[in-house]
Amino acid sequence: MLPKLIKFVLLTRFSRPLLGLVAFFLFYDIAIRGLTGGNGSDFSGGFSYYAVGSSIFFIVMSLLFGGLFVLKSDRDYLLTLPLRRRDLSAALFIAQFIGSGITILFLYGFYVAGAGGLGDAIVLVINLVLLACLVTALGVVSNILETWKRAVLAVLLGLWCSSSILGFGFTPVSAFTGQVLYGSIILFALTAVTVPVALRELAYLEMGSIRSLLRATSTEYKTSMSFVGKGPIRAIYSYHLSFLELMGRVNIGGSTSYRTARIRTRTVLIISIAAAAVYTYLTGFSSIDALRLDVLVPIIPVFMGVITLVLMAQGTFSNERGWLAFTAMDPAKYLRNLLLSRVLSILAILGPFGAANIVLAFLGTGMSSGFGHTLSFPLSAAIVLLVTVPSASILATYIVARVGAVQQVREEGMMPGQFDIRQFVAILPIYFVIGLIIVSEIFLSASIVIASALTLISAALLISSGVWRGIAYRLTEKGFI
């Protein structure tokens, strides 16, 4: 029964071509790249920063944006069937793992597979699989936690894992900084606690997460927007500049959540300014010799770029309502202003960090970092954050909509449909843009050229009415109403 159930659960959530592609990439990434090009024996160098940073990112994102790979039809049919709960939770956990945890194996599987000796490689691969299970489990567990508990847990776990960079061996990611024994024990213990909780939650979804989603509570907004006395264009900007919306498949760090939420842009701006001030102090003024904090200068724009591009590309249209917006005014005019207003709103996050990097450039931060072209790092980072990422987000949004990979959120917490290869393919250009961001970080001249080119392409896209009317028709044909 279990194999049949696993097959059913997987095929109702992921298309066969997508599963095939995932299997191929996994094999290629770990087996081929790991065995032929792996050089992960030095765990004290750049790999440590990369692996620890990425792990923290995945853990934090899973806790904050963790979601369930559950369909509306599961609620109505699958969960009502007389299935053994153990089988059900196992099948759903595997689906969760493929949908979220597996991303970790892609990102640094080849490093650990190619680690020095066979013994090291085996231990690190086990660590990686455990980490993937932990991230998967945290994504499930986060659904039963209130928002503030998720945030507190994310901060605590993030700080704990960060301490591994300072040489603390008792963290879940210490194996990646050379503390293989203690790191493995801690990671195993944490996984052994969280996975059973996640399995239990998946076994009784209708009594836990789904019931809380369906609870007939009416959430009242304390602060509301008013559109009285505003024309159509002002209304669009007023909406999107007042609140930042998180919605759609918030697919960051492998997490998947179909939620719709909004945060006041002013609040986001204040938090971002505070974070940028801390960042400026740490990278420009602090003198903790043990830490290479200047390395944050090129890393931060990459992480912020990933988050912004994914949020914009997959979230811009997820809460859009074609039957209202496209019938009220010309879809081209509407979408053009929608995109511009959303780009302006994301500058509330990116802007303070862009300004902080300009300050760092004046301070000469990075002069002694030894990377070469050091002075250009903060300037490049400022260009990336203020121009490249906002421009690229328009392009990314267009590509995702053009290939029909947008999923409209119609029911809170439920997958709107099966993941197919289009959603996978649509995300690839985003990685290309990330590559451009990395190149921009290294060469100031490249940064200027790439930022200019992306701005020109995005401007040309925005100007073309035909492009956006075509997107509106395409979205409608895909059932996006």
Partner: protein, 237 residues
Amino acid sequence: MGPCIDVQYVSKSYGKTVALDDVSFSIPCGERYALLGPNGAGKSTTLRLLVGLLKPDTGTIQIDGHEPFSPEAKSILGYLPEDATPYRTLSVRENLEYIAALRGVRDVASATNKFLDDLSLREYERAKVGKLSRGNMQKLAIALALIHNPKIVLLDEPLNYLDIPTQERVFKMLKSLDSTQIVSTHIMSIATRLTDKVLMIARGKIIWNGTIDALKSMEVGDEPIESVVARLMTGAS
């Protein structure tokens, strides 16, 4: 007076699936039509073409003499799709005000307040739409479709999810509108109460066009009107 809706030789396919095949019909201004047809007949596609959300592969559509996607047509069309969901992150009031502003309604506050009261949404005006019950969401969707007092109203199963008192209120509201209406429905009592004429569609083609009275006259003995419609849809004699 010319037709408010004029559809000539319109075809629309999704890939290899033909949704509408060389369809032509006209609806004079002020008339109320029920759009009937079995599942997958092409009813929703027809409404989406009329409202300019889709473009026909061939043929022409005129809304009061304008192309459906023109600003002139958009300003006089009101559309409610089946299972309509408003903006989930906005409150009820914000949804009404936002759409009224997008549509260029002069007095946004008055229009909003009118629908909050008429559809008993006042107590939910600050509530997040994503947390509303399906019935209240449908009431809001109806209000959003009508907030600009459209001259032409296209409704797809408007009474879905509504309780009986609200259904009666919506009946009254729609009957009081001075507009051309097309109501797509599977429920004959809705068709007979809201409309006078019927456009029947099956397998992408118009198969019958006439008055409700003409349809009733085809009843045999105690046969209900639903049986007549079923006969016509299935092609039975």
